[in-house]
């Protein structure tokens, strides 16, 4: 059926075009032979094709455009006729003899155009007559096109200021009156289309109508182009008349389109000065009109206008633009009871954007808008409407974008309340936006209160809002988002230790609620923030009386202890262990032995109880050894305990090579130049033990695989020997070094041993080192000299 309809339409169009072309052919022949009467006859017949009711607007437009082209030629002919002395007045009468109204009207407009140009009668009279005579076409589609033609041919002939048709009795008011009248009539026809035909074709009609809307809107464009429409005329005549028509037509489509048209075609300055009138019309529009788009459009234009130049801003203040807009929006929302939430939010969002552009210093306005929004949203619970949610995000993002400073946003008391209406996912997204904005703008947040509010805002990222949600989350996204939070935490800083400490406590309180998945991300930055503070305190108050100060490293360490504890339950023991060691080292720097000891104890407990994976154990033990080696705060007893434990742990590692490496690493615990720890016996114990283990490892390899294992462990031990030899450890004799070298050489020549290029290279470079030291001469050279390579 539908395709048939389309086909039929094509046929009708083709028939119309054919008829039009045929008659235009005869018309041209008549024009060429200057036969006015025939020309009129055939042009009328040609135009009769436009009387069809069978075409859709689109097809009708095609036909119309063809007729339009022909009419241009006819108009030229009329003009020439006129120049040749044919009275245009007579022509004007002659065309009115046509029996059918549509061709008659087109011809009348065409001659009318020539008539105005001839200036034989005042332009205003002719225009008035034309616009009046077009009333005969009450068929919406045909009427719209006819009037559109009238508008087209008269455009350059309006008695505008500066136009040749202006003067004497022809004033710009006549031009305006003409356009307004044509506009009004066209709009009426356009609106009427909606009410004709069966109800079931409503949608089709609406589509057709929107195809035609620009014909109507064109009039407003023409109005805006009239030079003579100054602010006063616009305010007194144009706008009220246009609005009257818009309001009275009571048609949703028309109101929506025309309001937008008004906003788009007239200058911003005019809008600003007539804001009250324009806004006053809004509550009078139909309830179904998408007023939010209209107002949003207006506010956007005004915002851009305000942004265009600082010079225009006083105008905004002068007309109290904000108050008026705010008022209007309140009224609209009040008037349209069933306005969906998203529309409400959109309105507020636009107003907010407007406000921050125009009144960037008036935070109270912004807050007021947010407050109004909250009021409107209250009692509705979290929003599930995606459009509304989007709009709230836009509403909340606007101040961030504008001020680029979270400080300002935090001052908006209603900001968090608005956020509360977002669903969890969006809330988190919004929090993300805030965090990223802070990071991007490097905003400084430097008081505990602000931190408190900020974390209140971004609690979607910090707290477990909904564990289900968390599970569904993509792992990568989660990591990324938490990494942002981590970065944010590191950005929180105040030079004042006291305030900084408060901030840290605040952060701590928040992040500890974050649940096991978040803690591994959020705790480390917090720890390092704290340690930084510790170091700062240490460097500042070398001689301050510690106990009286509000913040002391002790207090911080106490707090840290608790914080790290939280990680254990996660469980991420490796991370916790590492953090304990970091803290211990910091405590070491502060000369707080008990604290450092406590941290170490914690680390050891973790090692013993939680770190079960052998690989993790290896990593952990090396961390422990490394850290312990740097500790200087411990007394002999404490140190002994700790080193003893560490060596013990080393020897109990699962794999022999790991054991070996950990054990020889332990040797450094007994020989620290800086701290004057030089316990040669214990170093040797470690090294010998390492050798034993290496030996055992090789034998195990032999037994298990039939080939001796790598000699690399021996080479590593040789390096340790050389290190301590160089340090002057008396227990390491030349012979022991020499025998170790021989052992390695033998092993490497052993046919059983698999060749290991890495080991060979390592050994070769070790030997090179020995040679190098020999060549150095001096004390070192002497020491090395006896070693035979």
């Amino acid at each position: 059926m539908i395709s048939d309809g389309l086909e039929d339409e094509e046929k009708w169009l083709a028939a119309g075009v054919a008829g039009l072309q045929q008659n235009s052919f005869y018309m041209h022949r008549a024009l060429d032979s200057n036969n006015l009467k025939d020309a009129l006859k055939y042009s009328a017949q040609m135009l009769s094709e436009l009387r069809t009711s069978r075409l859709s607007p689109q097809k009708y437009y095609e036909l119309y455009m063809r007729a339009f082209d022909e009419l241009r030629k006819l108009e030229m002919f009329f003009r020439e006729e006129n120049r040749r002395g044919c009275s245009v007045v007579e022509l004007y009468e002659l065309v009115q003899h046509a029996g059918n109204i549509l061709p008659r009207s087109y011809l009348l407009c065409t001659v009318g155009s020539v008539y105005i140009k001839s200036k034989e009668a005042p332009a205003k009279d002719i225009l008035k007559d034309l616009v009046e005579m077009c009333r005969g076409i009450q068929h919406p589609l045909r009427g719209l096109f006819l009037r559109s033609y009238l508008s087209q041919v008269s455009r350059d002939k309006l008695p505008d200021i500066g136009s040749e048709y202006e003067g004497d009795e022809n004033t710009v008011m006549d031009a305006i009156e003409f356009v307004l009248q044509n506009f009004t009539e066209m709009n009426k026809l356009w609106v009427r289309m909606q009410h004709q035909g069966p109800t079931r074709e409503k949608e089709k009609r609406e589509k057709e109508r929107s195809e035609l809307r620009d014909l109507v809107g064109k009039n407003l464009h023409v109005l805006s182009q009239i030079e003579g429409v100054d602010l006063d005329i616009y305010r007194e005549t144009v706008l009220p008349r246009v609005l009257e028509q818009v309001v009275n037509c009571k048609d949703e489509l028309a109101q929506c389109y025309l309001m937008d048209c008004i906003i788009q075609v007239f200058p911003d300055e005019y809008h600003l000065q007539t804001l009250e009138t324009l806004l006053g019309a809004c509550p009078q529009l139909q309830g179904t009109v998408d007023i939010k788009t209209v107002l949003a459009g207006l506010m956007e234009r005004l915002s851009n206008y305000a942004a265009s130049s600082a010079e225009v801003l006083p105008q905004f203040f002068q007309v109290e633009a904000f108050a008026k807009l705010n008022n209007a929006i309140d009224k609209v929302i009040e008037a349209q009871d069933e306005m969906p939430v998203d529309a409400v939010v959109t309105l507020y969002s636009s107003l907010l954007k407007f406000t921050i552009h125009v009144h960037s210093d008036r935070l109270d306005y912004v807050d007021r808008i947010l407050g109004a929004c909250v009021k409107k949203l209250s009692g509705k619970g979290k929003l599930s409407d995606s459009k509304a949610t989007k709009q709230i995000v836009a509403l909340l993002s606007a101040p961030l974008e504008k001020y680029k400073d979270i400080d300002t946003v935090l001052k908006l008391s209603n900001y968090p309340h608005v956020m509360e209406y977002l669903d969890d996912v969006t809330n988190k997204e919004m929090a993300n936006v805030i965090v990223q904005s802070i990071i991007k703008n490097k905003s400084c947040i430097s008081t505990a209160d602000k931190v408190e509010s900020l974390f209140g805002l971004i609690k979607g990222l910090i707290n477990n809002l909904d564990s289900k949600l968390l599970e569904e989350l993509d792992e990568e996204d989660f990591q990324e988002e938490q990494n942002y939070v981590a970065r944010l935490i590191q950005m929180l800083h105040n030079d004042n230790p006291e305030e900084m400490f408060k901030m840290i406590c605040t952060i701590k309180n928040h992040i500890l609620t974050g649940g096991t998945k978040r803690l591994p991300f959020t705790v480390p930055p917090l720890i390092f923030n704290s340690l930084q503070l510790v170091r700062q305190l240490q460097s500042q108050d070398e001689n301050a009386t510690e106990d009286e100060a509000p913040v002391t490293p002790k207090k911080i360490f106490q707090m840290l202890n608790q914080t790290i504890e939280a990680l254990i339950s996660v469980p991420v023991p490796e991370l916790a262990l590492w953090l304990y060691l970091q803290c211990a080292e910091a405590a070491n720097d502060c000369d707080l032995e008990p604290v450092a000891y406590e941290f170490f104890t914690q680390a050891y407990i973790l090692y013993e109880e939680e770190v079960t994976d052998s690989k993790a154990q290896v990593t952990a033990i090396h961390l422990i050894i490394g850290t312990l080696q740097r500790m200087h705060v411990f007394g002999i007893e404490n140190r002994d305990t700790l080193t003893h434990k560490a060596t013990g742990y080393s020897a109990k590692l699962l794999k022999k090579p790991d054991q070996c490496r950990a054990v020889y690493a332990c040797s450094h615990l007994f020989w620290v130049d800086d701290h004057d720890i030089k316990d040669g016996e214990r170093v040797m114990l470690c090294l010998k033990r390492a050798l034993r283990i290496a030996n055992a490892a090789q034998q195990m390899a032999n037994a298990a695989r039939g080939s001796s294992g790598s000699v690399i462990l021996f080479i590593e031990i040789l390096n340790k020997y050389l290190y301590f030899y160089e340090k002057g450890l008396s227990q390491i004799t030349l012979a022991s070094v020499q025998s170790l070298i021989e052992l390695i050489t033998n092993e490497m020549q052993n046919e059983n041993s698999a060749s290991d290029p890495a080991a060979e290279a390592f050994f070769a470079s070790t030997l090179r080192y020995i040679q190098f030291q020999k060549n150095k001469g001096g004390a070192v050279g002497e020491k090395y000299e006896p070693i035979k390579v």
């Binding site: 009467k37 009328a44 002659l94 009115q96 029996g99 109204i101 009333r135 005969g136 009427g143």
Partner: protein, 346 residues
Amino acid sequence: MHFQNTWLPEPFSRETETLTKALQKSFEIQYLDNINFSSDEFISPWYFQVNAFKPACHVAVTFSDGKTRKQIHLKKEKGQTVMVPLFQSQENISGQISIEPISGKKLEHNGIKVELLGQIEMYFDRGNFYDFTSLVRELDVPGELYERKTYPFEFSTVEMPYETYNGVNVRLRYVLKVTITRGYAGSVVEYQDFVVRNYSPLPSINNSIKMEVGIEDCLHIEFEYNKSKYHLKDVIIGKIYFLLVRIKIKNMDLEIRRRESTGSGPNTHVETETLAKFELMDGAPVRGESIPLRLFLSPYELTPTYHNINNKFSVKYYLNLVLVDEEDRRYFKQQEITMLRLADAS
């Protein structure tokens, strides 16, 4: 407010349909009819129509101011038109009549006269002329004519109260009838047509026509024509206001109708012609719309209104406002207007 409920939907009769269709057709070539006034039609000189076989002589009538007097078209039988001089009542009608026997033959006669006749011919009684005016001038006593002879004649201040009219059922004409009476071969009779038109002054009272009509709860309109008396080259200006529209109107036309009634009493015969059909509106208006009307009368062949011409016939004019709905039902209201001929409008 009182509605005249005379406005009745007219049933769609077959007759009307034919009439409408015929009119529509005629409409499409209206320009041809109205503007290009049949210029290519054959115009026959009057003397070709004289006694077709073997005329004994040539008779020619010339008017004394024939060169300057206005000539107008006159429709004759068989669609032919001729150019004839135009007179009005009370004018002197004078000229010459020249008679020329054919190639030297002698023409005997029993007297020559010229008559000025005003005649009404009813078509149901075709060929039977009723003379309402008859004036005679004797031109010559019985005798013989050997060569061309010219006779002057004059009818002074002739009363010609009625206008020349060619209607559907009736014709009113003025002729000069030259009769050469002969005993044997039959008399030679020659006719010369002329046209009479009489002019009226502008009427001192000329009210507009204003009327509110309708069908209850269906259609109420108010229309206004600026005058009730129009001259032939006048323009009808008016407005049609739609006060209530509950029917789907397709278009609205204004027709000019001529009502010619002939005969009298029970034998009265009325013939109505639609001379103009002028589309005023295309599409369906809504309440509150007002549609302008401007109709130039000059393209149409109208005559003044004639009241009871010599008790034989009357011609009246009506404006008929017709609304057609989507189902082609016609709603109409007819209003009589008086047509008159102004002196300066020829």
